[in-house]
């Protein structure tokens, strides 16, 4: 009898219980900044610990939990359960006004669709940056239309259903025409800057208005 119990006692003295070993592994794994191998665990835990078995228990314990013990190469680490990865992203939504260039490009696409980049540039009188179009595409307000049957077969842009939804339009044809814009006073709002390019050198006019507004500000 006593001979039977002796080795057990000895073992108990040498190493903590398996449950305790499991706790230890849990703590070490948790606090470590890198995955830990069984070898390293063995070095850290009291001598006589059966790290492999304790690890098996621990892995089992975390099965189906929000975090799991994953094997990374021959090391182990706690990892968020894959199905909960979405919790690790925090989305902050910030609403910004669309840039003037983007609005103008969007407007041209809406009024002239399907329209090529070259046509947009011709209407705007300036080149359209890639970023501007990309942004509109990303917002899903604009998408690619059919290619034009002209030399080079350029792609065209058209507005999307999302665009129409956003602006409360049933179709792009519902966009107010120039006459309506004018009668709504929209063309009168900024006549001088808009006039600038037509004047020729286009430098006198904007300066003039700037000068005036400065006068008023001062």
């Amino acid at each position: 009898m006593s001979e039977d119990t002796k080795p057990k006692e000895k073992k108990l003295f040498d190493a903590p219980s398996l449950a305790e070993q499991e706790r230890m592994i849990e703590a070490v794994l948790f606090a470590s900044s890198e995955p830990i191998t069984l070898r390293e665990l063995e070095d850290r835990l009291p001598r006589g610990s059966d790290v492999g078995e304790a690890m098996a228990f621990l892995r089992h314990r975390y099965q189906g939990r929000g975090v799991q013990v994953m094997k990374v190469g021959d090391a182990y680490a706690f990892r968020t359960a894959p199905d909960l990865g979405f919790l690790m992203h925090k989305e902050t939504v910030e609403t910004r006004k669309l840039s003037r260039a983007a609005i103008e490009t969007l407007a041209i696409i809406a009024y002239h669709q399907p329209v090529t980049r070259a046509e947009i540039e011709e209407i705007r009188g300036v080149s359209v940056s890639r970023g501007t179009v990309d942004q509109l595409l990303e917002m899903e307000w604009v998408r690619f239309g059919r290619r034009k049957m002209t030399p080079g077969r350029p792609v065209t842009f058209v507005v999307t259903q999302e665009f129409l939804d956003h602006f409360g339009l049933e179709s792009a044809r519902d966009l107010p025409g120039l006459k309506e814009l004018r009668s709504a006073g929209l063309l009168e709002n900024r006549p001088l800057p808009a006039l600038a390019p037509t004047v020729g050198d286009g430098e006198d006019e904007p300066e003039a208005t700037e000068g005036q507004s400065e006068l008023f500000e001062d």
Binding site: H89, E91, I108, L169, L195
Partner: protein, 264 residues
């Protein structure tokens, strides 16, 4: 008692090696105290009693002895040590003399009680500090997650524009073509081009001198603003036609009517 002996001892030993060593130790001690209250608390330990039962009178003597010794050794004591010494000397006299009923201010006992309270409170805070530092500490005894998976903050920017923005934007791009017609639409403006076109059609019938005003288009003669615009445009157009050699123009005197006729 013990401390007065001590002072005498050191006085006797002054000049000897032992005395110098004692003096050195004393200097180190002085520097080791964080102010008079710290020194008092340290001195109070020699009484080996609960701080509540401490003899403030004895403590005052100990402190004053200490200051005397420092003076004897020509040590510069900080001013607050001397202030405390003065206060304790005063306290000592109050505690020793029978209370003077005419005297204002707190009694010696009240002052002594307060000093005892201060010492006890300081000691309590020192004990508390020790207990606090003796607690399990994060990063020493217990640990935070080593491999954090901080939340990636996805900053999603949504852009908005109103229909008005859109229309204004379009208007901006289109005014290049549309602004000029728009200006002409203003009904009080008669442009030179219009006048020129009109005059070209009319000069064929202008064989004799006729007033410029008779060439104004119908309906432009009544409203002053319209008349002014039409007159100016017609006059400019006339000059253009004179330059081209189609027309002659004259004016008899300043402000007299301008007259035109076809040039053959």
């Amino acid at each position: 008692m013990a401390d007065t002996d001590f002072v005498q001892d050191s006085n006797e030993a002054a000049g000897s090696v032992a005395g110098r060593l004692a003096a050195e130790a004393f200097i180190i001690d002085v520097e080791g105290y964080e102010g008079p209250l710290d020194l008092l608390l340290s001195l109070s330990r020699t009484q080996k009693v609960d701080l509540r039962k401490i003899s403030v009178l004895q403590l005052a003597r100990q402190y004053l002895d200490f200051v005397e010794r420092a003076k004897a050794l020509r040590l510069e004591l900080a001013a607050d040590y001397l202030v405390m010494a003065a206060w304790l000397a005063f306290l000592k006299s109050r505690l020793l003399l029978p209370p003077d009923p005419t005297e204002e201010g707190p009694s010696g006992e009240e002052m002594a009680a307060h000093l005892a309270f201060q010492l006890e409170r300081l000691q309590a805070m020192r004990d508390a500090a020790a207990r606090l530092m003796g607690r399990d500490q994060l990063g020493r005894d217990f640990f935070a997650r080593g491999q954090t998976h901080e939340i990636t903050r996805v900053k999603k920017v949504t852009y908005t524009a109103t229909l008005l923005d859109l229309m204004q934007g379009y208007a901006r791009t289109r005014t290049r073509d549309e602004f000029r017609p728009f200006v002409m639409d203003r009904d009080a403006v008669f442009t030179m081009e219009e006048a020129l076109e009109r005059m070209r059609g009319l000069i064929g019938y202008a064989g004799d001198w006729g007033d410029l005003t008779s060439y104004l288009p119908d309906g432009w003669g009544d409203d002053p603003q319209r008349r002014r615009s039409a007159t100016a445009a017609t006059f400019a157009a006339s000059l253009e036609l004179v330059k081209e050699g189609h027309l002659e123009i004259r004016q008899k005197e300043i402000f007299a009517p301008i007259q035109l006729r076809k040039k053959d």
